[in-house]
């Protein structure tokens, strides 16, 4: 992991959406995160956890209700032009490419809008360079989206994001619309590009094995809050929040001889009960832990005060009363049973 150069910082970001009945929906609750240059921050969580809201805030498509987002040291504020330094790549490449526009046009458009390569020859050279970055050949220039495979279309989407020379790419489920064999290609490409262009990634996915493969730091979100974060191995190999453990345990491992990870021996059942409450009015009250209704480890304190993220390892933090108390009574080694 390189330096301590922070390219993106979220400080107690809150996002509320008005609701016709009752109080506003709280989609994000006090999210604080940071992304260091040329590293990857993985964000995992299930539908409704706020990960997509967070990605929209990061690229400036929406503004936080409270709290602050800094990109390259500058706060995102109303009226600020959409930052060139941060680009979003969506899950479905075909929905973000115009079906009537060739690959070349899709790329030159971006260059023209941002006045990046004023002369025609420059633009041509830049298009070839961009295609080269994503391992497409110049013969793909004249193709229309329908003439591309899913993997190729996603490469074009990435090339287009790269056209404005961003520092940060926000990748929202970049591999989930792709076939298994193409996923590997895409992950290899992203890892290579990160090295070559010193890119920083926010990698949002529900696929823990993909997130693990590319991330340095992983943040686990539940109902608009970060409930656990830390180096990838800490979070996924020794998950401490009961939600992270349930999530890790639920992932089917492609190895018939092995049970899913996350089922920590001797820790008792971590399987959660019920289904996620939606954020907002129907969600949990502001007292107490948001995970309480599903938590098999809940205690009295969990109903009274919401847990804050607290250190449980050198860079590993968790928002769980039980995990924090257990860890405090014991040395901070990796073998601590939670």
């Amino acid at each position: 992991m390189s330096g301590g150069d922070v390219v993106l910082r979220a400080t107690t970001v809150e996002k509320e959406y008005p609701s016709r009945r009752g109080p506003p929906v709280r989609a994000l609750r006090g999210v604080s995160l940071q992304l260091e240059r040329a590293t990857t921050l993985g964000i995992v969580g299930e539908s409704g956890c706020g990960k997509s809201t967070l990605s929209r805030l990061m690229v400036g498509l929406e503004l936080p209700t409270r709290g602050q987002l800094d990109i390259m040291g500058e706060p995102v504020h109303p009226g600020r032009a959409l930052a060139r330094s941060i680009q979003l790549v969506f899950q479905d490449p075909f929905s973000s490419l115009d079906p009537r526009v060739t690959v070349e046009k899709a790329l030159t458009e971006v260059l023209t809008v941002h006045h990046l390569a004023p002369e025609r020859a420059q633009r041509q050279a830049r298009v070839d360079e961009l295609l080269g970055h994503v391992a497409l050949s110049p013969r793909h220039r004249d193709r229309y989206p329908h003439e591309l495979s899913g993997g190729q279309a996603q490469r074009v989407a990435i090339a287009r994001a790269l056209a404005v020379e961003p520092e940060i790419l926000v990748l929202d489920e970049p591999t989930s619309a792709l076939d298994v064999s193409v996923r590997a290609e895409m992950l290899n490409l992203l890892v290579r590009l990160q090295g070559e262009l010193e890119l920083s990634y926010v990698f949002i996915s529900h696929d823990l094995s993909m997130v693990r493969h590319v991330s340095d730091i992983i943040a686990v979100m539940y109902l608009g809050q970060v409930v656990e974060q830390g180096p990838y191995a800490d979070v996924l190999d020794t998950p401490r929040h009961p939600y992270t453990r349930a999530l890790a345990a639920a992932v089917p491992v492609p190895d018939p001889g092995r049970r899913p990870s996350g089922q920590v021996d001797g820790a008792g059942a971590v399987t959660m009960v019920g289904e996620a409450l939606t954020a907002g009015p129907a969600g949990p009250t502001s007292d107490g832990c948001p995970y309480l209704p599903r938590c098999p480890l809940a205690e009295q304190v969990c109903a009274e005060t919401a847990p804050q993220l607290g250190a449980i390892g050198p860079r590993h933090r968790v928002a769980c009363h039980v995990a924090l108390r257990t860890a405090r009574g014991l040395p901070l080694s990796e073998d601590v049973p939670v």
């Binding site: 299930e46 539908s47 495979s149 899913g150 076939d179 298994v180 064999s181 996923r183 590997a184 290609e185 992950l187 290899n188 890892v191 529900h206 823990l208 094995s209 993909m210 693990r212 493969h213 590319v214 990838y232 349930a246 999530l247 345990a249 639920a250 992932v251 089917p252 491992v253 492609p254 190895d255 018939p256 001889g257 899913p260 990870s261 959660m272 019920g274 289904e275 996620a276 939606t278």
Partner: protein, 344 residues
């Protein structure tokens, strides 16, 4: 490829597993061929699939988009989107009767009563204008359950699929429920009739992993308690590894490998299976170490030509592979593989 080659050595039905001889498969697909009608004439996209499903077993069908896995299972209950896609040949036998030629009324008594199907998109099986309870009760009464029992069964199954408030869900219209809830409603509807076979076409792909786990656990439990056979179509190798007993791998409209789950993951034989397993991030491998890529792309079904359809992407292809398409041959892992090198 002819249907006969697929059942070489009797493995077409049992996938090499040793079954007692008297045990008959519940469902047998023989030489199933499915075509897409284009102006130039039909293009075969499922090219002779042989598959047997025993009672009490869970079979997984794995493959990528375009491999023909979904069409194969859709053809079982004659649910192919015809036009433009139709069955060109082959038979689908259930309990000794051919479903492909059965009259509609007889088929209706099999559909949804003895063989249930669930899909990736729950709205495929739900009517947006009817309350959930009406739809489930209707399914049950259509198959001769008295109305009173049907109501009781309805709340029972909604509870079974892990819905926390089954009564509220029963009274809701589909648009009032979330995607995950609808998915479970559809599954409840399929399971309400206690089918002998459940065919699932990627029903959990769009769901969160924790919900997926609940559904796999539920189906697994029903399989244990009622002996319901399961055919699970997916591209998720994790689900395959954790859930099914036996796997068929499809590529370019054919089964290219068939083996027990254990053997397939430990000793994959077909180069495509080997490559597919290699693409997964492996635990224990160095962080960010490059994943195996499968070069090239699946072939265009209208331009297959002779020879093995995987040959252009195959690292071990030799002369014979471009001349003759290999039939399913006995493989070193006890299963069968459509590869001239299967026995090596």
């Amino acid at each position: 490829m002819t249907g006969g080659t697929g059942v070489t050595g009797g493995t077409g039905v049992t996938g090499g597993a040793v079954h007692a001889e008297e045990e008959q498969p519940l469902l047998v697909l023989r030489d199933v061929r499915i075509g897409l009608h284009e102006r130039r004439g039909p293009v075969e996209i499922v090219r002779g699939v042989d598959l047997g499903v025993m009672a009490h077993e869970k079979v997984g069908i794995v493959g990528e988009s375009g491999s023909g896995k979904s069409l194969t299972v859709l053809s079982v209950l004659r649910l192919l989107p015809d036009p433009p896609i139709r069955l060109l040949g082959g038979t689908v036998e259930y309990a000794g009767r051919d479903l492909t030629t059965m009259d509609e009324r007889a088929l209706a008594s099999v559909r949804g009563a003895q063989i249930s199907m669930i899909y990736q998109d729950p709205m495929t099986s739900l009517n947006p204008l009817l309350r959930v309870s009406t739809q489930i009760v209707e399914t049950l009464t259509a198959h001769t359950t008295p109305k009173h029992d049907a109501r009781r069964r309805c709340s029972e199954v909604l509870h079974q699929v892990g819905l926390t408030d089954p009564d509220r869900v029963a009274h809701a219209f589909p648009h009032e429920l979330s995607g995950g809830m609808l998915q479970r409603v559809m599954i409840a509807m399929a399971l309400a009739v206690s089918p002998r076979i459940l065919i699932a076409d990627e029903p959990t792909t769009a769901l969160d992993v924790t919900i997926q786990r609940q559904i796999l656990d539920l189906v697994g439990e029903l399989h244990e308690t009622t002996g319901m056979a399961v055919v699970w179509v997916t591209h998720d190798l994790g689900v395959i590894a954790q859930f099914v007993d036996r796997v068929v791998v499809m590529y370019a409209g054919r089964i290219v490998e068939r083996a027990t789950t254990e053997e397939l993951f430990v000793r994959p034989v077909h180069p495509y299976t080997v490559a597919l397993l290699g693409t997964l991030p492996r635990e224990g491998a160095a962080h960010r170490s490059p994943l195996t890529q499968i070069g090239g792309q699946p072939p265009d079904p209208s331009r297959l030509g002779k020879g093995c359809p995987y040959r252009q992407r195959c690292p071990v292809a030799f002369d014979r592979c471009s001349e003759e398409e290999p039939p399913l041959l006995p493989a070193a892992n006890g299963g069968v593989a459509a590869c001239w090198r299967a026995e090596e």
